[in-house]
Structures are given as C-alpha cells and as structure tokens.
C-alpha cells in the first residue's frame, strides 16, 4: 500500500493517432514508464520542454487522465478505480495556465465558494473556507471585487484560493505563471510557498521558469515521456550541459557563476541564489 501523497509506478499513457478521416493509424506514448514519489507536505517541481509529457503526467494526478499501463496512487487511492474518482479529485486540486479560463464567478468570493458548494459543504462552512482561502493567498481585501478588475497574478491567486477552499491535501499547478508579468509571477510563487509552509499542502509545480524551482525539495526533468533527471535543485542545476540538452536552462545567477568558472574563477558548482554567488565571490577576493 503506497504511503506517499503521489506515487506512480511504471506509469504509461498511450493514445491513438488518427488520420484526417478519424481512422486509427497508430499509437503514441506520451508517458512511458514513469516512477515518481512525492511525500506528503513536500514541494516538487517538474521541468520539461513543450511536448515532453509533463502536463499529461500532471493530469494523472487528479484523474483527468487515467493510466493505460502501470498505476498512479493519490494518497493511497488508485486513480483507475472509478469508485475513488471523486476522492482523488478532492485530494488533488489543479490550477492551470490561463487564469481567465478558471474563473467563473462574477464576484471574487463567489468564485472561491463555488468548489465547496459543489461538494455539499454547509453555507456557514463555505464562508469560513472562502475567508481562510482568500487570506492564505493574500486576496481577502478583494473579496467583493469583480474578477475582471484583477491583474493576471491576482486572478491566478483567486484560482488557487478556489482550489484551496475544497481543502485538498495536494495542489498541482500546471504552468501557473506562464501568462503573467514579473510581479504576477512573484505573487503566485510566494502564495504557493506560503501555502506549503502554513497549511502543509503538498505542492507539485510544473514550470518553464527555472528561478521558480529553486525552493523545491525535489526536481524531476521529463523528456519524451520519461523522467531523465531527478534530484535537489542544486544537484539538477549543477548539470548545466545536460539540462540544456533537454531544452531547459538554469537560473541566470547559476549561468553567471558558470561563466565565471569558465573564465577561471574557482567557484563551487550549483550556485542558485544571488546571495550565494556574492558570498562565494567575496570569499575568493
């Protein structure tokens, strides 16, 4: 019996390829034998280029897709079991890329209350959850506003609050910052980090921004449906050339440290943060 929050074993997802008339002409493996363990309460990041299979993997975490081979357990529940579907979805909430596609309410607090209302939560408790969730993402003072008036980062935080209000044990964020400006990105990442600290929610973040995964406990890199790299951010970002071969990058500070190493400075590998680089340079002086 799996004990992790998310556990995949030899996960395979295969779909039919069709021609213009809709005839099946073959099959494609979007995920090909993935093993992954995410302990409860941890923060895991998944990197991978467009088409590497990371979104398909994410969709398995709340049973939007079910494996065609192998198994995915969410908090010990097999996502293939139809009887567990709603439990799985309640355990793992999802936040997507485009904030405009996820907000349906005309007032912020109504939007956040929509989820728990559908779960049949009592009215008093809905309001309590709405308040707590908006507070957790720092949007409580906008509860009476129309979502139209919010910036991208604020809308995305409301979307996160909407998921939180369903009290999931785990949140899966699929490129939540792709459409945001630098400030919006910071707001969202800060909100996610707070959640994890204060509410002990398991966080799975899929992103193309290397700076956003620095605080993760573990990083997985996907390519062609496989997990090709796995480790702490420091381990992963020490392997600059390998990452680049998977169309990924490293944080700009890591790149600068690497450029300085190539020019002959004796800096340690895997520098991630600005303060670390400045400290290391001061040591060399």
């Amino acid at each position: 019996m799996p004990t992790e929050m998310i556990q995949a074993e030899k996960l395979i997802y295969e779909y039919d390829k069709r021609d213009e008339e809709g005839n099946i002409i073959g099959s494609e493996r979007a995920i090909d034998g993935v093993d992954i363990d995410v302990p409860a309460g941890s923060f895991v990041a998944i990197l991978g280029h467009n088409g590497s299979g990371k979104s398909t993997l994410a969709k398995h975490m709340n049973a939007i897709l079910v494996p065609t081979g192998g198994t995915m357990w969410v908090d010990g529940r097999d996502t293939k079991d139809p009887d567990e579907l709603w439990n799985v979805r309640q355990t793992a909430g999802m936040v997507f890329q485009n904030p405009d596609n996820q907000i349906i309410g005309t007032v912020v607090e109504e939007d956040v209350g929509f989820g728990p209302e559908n779960l049949g939560v009592s009215t008093d408790e809905i309001w309590q959850r709405v308040e707590e969730s908006l507070k957790a993402v720092g949007m409580l003072d906008r509860r009476k506003d129309s979502p139209n008036k919010l910036s991208g980062g604020q809308k995305q935080r409301v979307a996160i609050a909407g998921v939180l209000a369903m009290e999931p044990k785990c949140i899966v964020l699929d490129e939540p910052t792709a459409m945001l400006d630098p400030n919006g990105r910071k707001e969202v990442i800060r909100a996610v980090e707070e959640l994890r600290k204060k509410k002990n929610v398991t966080v799975i973040l899929i992103t193309h921004y290397m700076e956003e995964v620095i605080e993760a406990d573990q990083v997985f890199v996907m390519d062609d449906g496989h997990i090709v790299m796995h480790g702490t951010p420091r381990e992963i970002f020490s392997r600059v050339d390998e990452l680049k071969s998977y169309r990924m990058d490293v944080p700009q500070v890591t790149m600068l440290a690497e450029a300085l190493r190539k020019r002959g400075l004796n800096l340690p590998k895997g520098i991630l943060r600005r303060e670390e680089l400045v400290e290391a340079l001061c040591q060399l002086r």
């Binding site: 910036s151 680049k244 600068l256």
Partner: protein, 282 residues
Amino acid sequence: MSIALEHVSYVYSPGTAYEKHALKDVSFEIPQGQFVGIIGHTGSGKSTLIQHLNGLVRATSGKVLYEGKNIYDEGYNMRALRSQVGLVFQYPEYQLFEVDVLSDVCFGPKNQGLSPEECEKNAREALELVGFPEKYYKQSPFELSGGQKRRVAIAGVLAMKPKVLILDEPTAGLDPKGRDEILDQVEKLHKETGMTVILVSHSMEDIARYVERIIVMNHGEKMLDGTPKEVFRHYKELEEVGLAAPQVTYVMHDLKERGFDVSPDATTIEEAADEIMRSFRG
C-alpha cells in the same frame, strides 16, 4: 524613415462610467532599423500602444506618423500601412487555420493581391527566415510543436515583407530553448534585413540581451526611454511599478555594495562576467 507617436492619448468608453485612459500623452520616435523593447506590467498600456502603430486602434487625440505622414489624414492608405507594419499578436498560433503550413503563410501576401507564384515565393522566403524546415511545408500547422507553430505564425506576417515587425510576447509559454531559438532568429532577421523590430516582453533578461533601446510603460504613460543600461539603472523605480532589472544587475549592485570595484551597469551575463573578471585582475 521612422515610426512616431506624437502626444497620443487613448480613452476607452469616454463619457461613461467605464471611462479609462489607456494611453496618456505618449510620444516617441523609432528610426528605421532599431531593435526596441517595450516593457510594463499587465495593463500598463503596452498592447494598446502597439495597436496604434499599425492603425488597428485609433488615438483619441494625438498623431501617429509613419515615414513622416500622419496615418489619420484623410485618404491615407491604411491597408498599405498594415502590410508595412506587421504585428504578431500574443499566442499567434491560435490564428493558424489553413490545411498546410505553406498555404497558411501565403494568406497574407494573397490578401495583398499578389499572384500565386509571388505569394509562394514570399511565403518560402519567410519560412526560411524563421528557420522553419522545408520538409514540413506541406504538413498541417496543427500537428507542429508549440515553437514551430509560432514560427509559422511569425512567417505569416513576414511574408507580407513588412519594414517594421512588432512582436507581442513572442516567447510566452515556450520552453527555455524555444525562447532562445525564436529570439535568436528575430535578432538574425533584424541584422540581415535591417527591419525595425519592436519586442514586447515580460522577461527583463531577454530584453537586456537583445534590444538596443527600452521603452517602459506605466499606467498608460511612457515612464522611461533609453538603452538597457540607462533604463535598468532605475531598478528601484522599476520594482515599484511591478517590473525588475535582470538578475545579474542585482548581483552587480550587491558586489559593489560589498566593496568590489565593479560598475553595476551590466545587464547581461557576458557583461557581468567580464566586469567581475576585470575587478579580480585589478
């Protein structure tokens, strides 16, 4: 040979409760051949601004001058303007619609009234300019990867042979390699054709690396206008309006504070590395 805004203001729904000043008294001139970046937080007026440059949105007051002529003059040929000032929208791949790549790219020149032979010639040149492989010309654009789709969409605008190319966040949603590939290609295009390029982006690192001039928009007004070094010197003001300087600029400021003899002006990795090495050599 330039494109210029003179005291342009744009007001949404004037005289109603929803009245909003999207642009306030914006003026600047972009000479032919410049590579310009436009930055600003969401809602700062960037997109409204670029839509003025090819006449998609008409200013409430002020003038837009293309090659010295006011585009709002009676009888001005807007159609000709739109083929000379090409605009690539955000997520342009959603606008692909044809059965194969080559036909999709031919759509622009076809509307310019060119013969089928000329259309195909221009389309092929455009696809070559964006580095799109010929073996996929007859493939459906919908079967391509995100980065390839975006190249096709950009080629669709280039096939009209514009003198000015405006790109609204051309790398949004692409993986890091895809981002570099598109921007390297745009830079090459700029160098080889002498085309004016106006790049709207949320990535300060990308802006610093590619452009020669940055225009910063805030609440519909032009807040800063200068070289990347000049603009990112104002990093504190940029932060106040939801922007930032590239990360390396912050490293340089930190080092200077710690007593390193470095100029904090570096905005790219290369510049920063050179400057740090110089300080170590004394």
